[in-house]
């Protein structure tokens, strides 16, 4: 208990004000919600700046503040690759290939798009995978924050912290849907940046500036000589060799994440114009490039300021820095920033998992059972019911799910299991007219199985934790399977793929017309 931080009354006032403000803003947004389109895609009225803010803050959770700082403490600045190499190139690609295409097709979810392009089986498998992963992420982020931050640092019982954040975020997501999620995200990003950059400034001040930080870390010995290198040799035993960073992260994981992750792309589905959808993605990428300054550099500063932690306690770097460095008032602000990061991630994940569940799983089940599609009002009611159900269930199951493995690696490993195969299927579906429904299905299912085999077969790669290589090779494998099975099966009729292949959508006006007809159906 000696390591816990006492909060000054002013810190508590800042945190409570922030929580109440979020609740009120979310509640205010309910007046814009009248049907399923309003709830799931904000009535397609979002401006680019709100989309950009929301993408960043939904992507960065309190887990990142803790775990990326921990990874930087242990492995150096190479941990920042996830927000540099792992963001901007993929976001540019997403902005000009996937986003306009999704936006024009008028879908609510990525699996829904896959269902139109391939078949219901691909839609169902993809939706099921995403629903499970989003639910696990929801539980993990809730428990990690409650346990690693609220309890370890503040001494607040973890179940109290978990239920308070779950109820606040659950309430405004329930009331305001995506509109509430996005506009609370805007406020949360500002709070997060002020808190995060404040911690960075004080950390650098304490260390004596950038040059002093550099010199002091390099003087610690041979184990620290790579701490200021973004790219490490292929045969490094750490998790971030350059080949993994460029191929696994830059080409596969990042593009899959930015183009196929419902939490990210759902904001662009809600854009008021195609330009806002693309501009929102680019603006989000620009804002995201500042994230390593807030999450990775304080981890480096912690090597000098709290050297006693050791690699095994690396995840305690940020809590320790808060305890050692921040005065009353700023501590409250920093915790408000961490709460902002947490709540935005929870609300975004919650809204997206509900959208997938109602649109893809429930919608498909009704179709199979021969029931009519959900009306817009029914969609809204079910969206709210499942929002409440998911947040309660994830809070109940948070501890058993999350209480295992090193936080960041766990989430990345779960994601990497199907990111490669999903990207392969999505990419071929968009750029290659000959890809067939069976090709896509085989590519997705066999790709995930191959990924599982690679992940569990030791010694194939030099890295101790080769999730970047697993992502890359499962992507390549799924591409090959999809191509081979597509050639072995009859081509899709022209009518089915008309308006659903990127080249025709971009160049051919009649294909545009076909797409608009599909939207109006």
């Amino acid at each position: 208990m000696g390591l816990q931080i006492g909060l000054h009354p002013i810190d508590i006032i800042i945190i409570v004000t922030y929580m109440l403000g979020s609740l009120l803003l979310g509640w205010y947004c309910q007046k814009y919600v009248g049907d399923a389109q309003d709830f799931f895609v904000a009535g397609r009225a979002l401006p680019f700046w709100a989309i950009g803010f929301s993408i960043v803050v939904s992507d960065i959770g309190a887990v990142d503040f803790v775990a990326v700082a921990g990874a930087a403490y242990k492995n150096g600045v190479s941990a920042a690759n996830f927000d540099w190499m792992g963001s901007m190139p993929a976001m540019v690609f997403a902005a000009f290939v996937f986003v306009p295409y999704f936006w024009r097709s008028g879908v609510f979810t990525v699996p829904e798009f896959l269902g139109r392009r391939y078949n219901a089986a691909v839609q169902f498998v993809n939706a099921l995978i995403w629903a499970v992963v989003l639910f696990v992420m929801l539980a993990v982020m809730q428990w990690v924050t409650a346990d690693k931050l609220m309890y370890t640092v503040l001494g607040i019982p973890p179940y109290w912290a978990l239920w308070i954040t779950a109820l606040v975020t659950g309430f405004y997501t329930f009331e305001g849907g995506l509109t509430a999620v996005v506009f609370t995200d805007v406020v949360q990003l500002v709070v997060m940046y002020v808190g995060g950059l404040g911690l960075l400034a004080l950390s650098l001040w304490e260390v004596g500036g950038w040059t002093a930080l550099h010199d002091k870390i390099l003087a610690l010995g041979p184990d620290y000589q790579n701490h200021f290198k973004l790219l490490l040799p292929h045969d490094t035993t750490g998790p971030f060799p350059w080949t993994g960073i460029v191929f696994g992260l830059g080409i596969v994981l990042a593009i899959a994440y930015m183009s196929g992750n419902q939490v990210i792309v759902q904001r662009t589905f809600g854009a008021r114009t195609e330009w806002d959808a693309k501009g929102g993605m680019l603006f989000g990428g620009f804002l995201k490039s500042f994230i390593p300054l807030m999450v990775a550099l304080p981890g480096l500063c912690a090597i000098v300021i709290v050297p006693h932690l050791g690699a095994e306690n690396a995840d305690r770097a940020v809590p320790e820095m808060i305890r050692v460095l921040l005065p009353a008032g700023l501590r409250g602000l920093m915790f408000a920033a961490l709460l902002a990061a947490l709540m935005s991630s929870i609300s975004g994940t919650l809204n997206s998992s509900t959208t997938i569940f109602v649109t893809d799983l429930l919608g498909q089940a009704r179709r199979v059972l021969g029931k009519p599609p959900l009306s817009s009002k029914q969609g809204l009611v079910l969206g709210r019911v499942y929002t409440a159900l998911f947040i309660i269930l994830s809070a109940v199951l948070a501890k058993p799910i999350a209480d295992r493995e090193q936080i960041y690696v766990f989430i990345q490993t779960v994601l990497s299991l199907f990111q490669g195969p999903t990207l392969a299927v999505l990419l071929l579906g968009i750029i290659w007219r000959r890809a067939t429904g069976w090709g896509g299905f085989a590519g997705l299912v066999l790709g995930v199985i191959f990924c599982f085999v690679l992940k569990n077969t030791p010694g194939l790669f030099p890295s101790d934790d080769p999730f970047l290589f697993v992502a890359w090779w499962s992507f390549v494998f799924s591409l090959l399977v999809t191509v081979v099975v597509s050639y072995l099966t009859p081509p899709e009729p022209d009518e089915k793929v008309r308006g659903l292949v990127w080249s025709s959508v971009v160049r051919d006006e009649s294909a545009q017309q076909a797409l608009e007809e599909r939207i109006s159906q």
């Binding site: 973004l230 040799p233 330009w275 085999v453 077969t457 030791p458």
Partner: protein
């Protein structure tokens, strides 16, 4: 489970991945930095020069340099190029 996978799949997969690993291990700098910087420069060229400007800015409400997404792309990418040169 790892033991099972090691016995069943390792003998099949290691002849494929061992030579690939050996090949990649022989490359590091400057190729690593060139590849990394290329990940930023190529999208700049693609969006700035190769894509149709009408497609890039479709849906734009006010036409000006400030709302030209080609310029946004380039300006967002340049700091990353600097960062990857600095942390070599």
């Amino acid at each position: 489970m790892e033991k099972f996978f090691a016995e069943v799949f390792y003998p099949m997969l290691s002849p494929i991945f061992r030579p690939i690993n050996a090949f990649l291990s022989s490359f590091f700098e400057p190729y690593a930095s060139i590849c990394a910087v290329g990940m930023f420069v190529l999208p700049m060229i693609w969006v700035g020069l190769l894509l149709n400007p009408r497609y890039v800015n479709r849906g734009q409400r006010y036409k000006s340099a400030w709302t030209d997404l080609r310029i946004w792309t380039v300006l967002s990418m340049i700091p990353h190029v600097v960062v990857y040169f600095y942390f070599r």
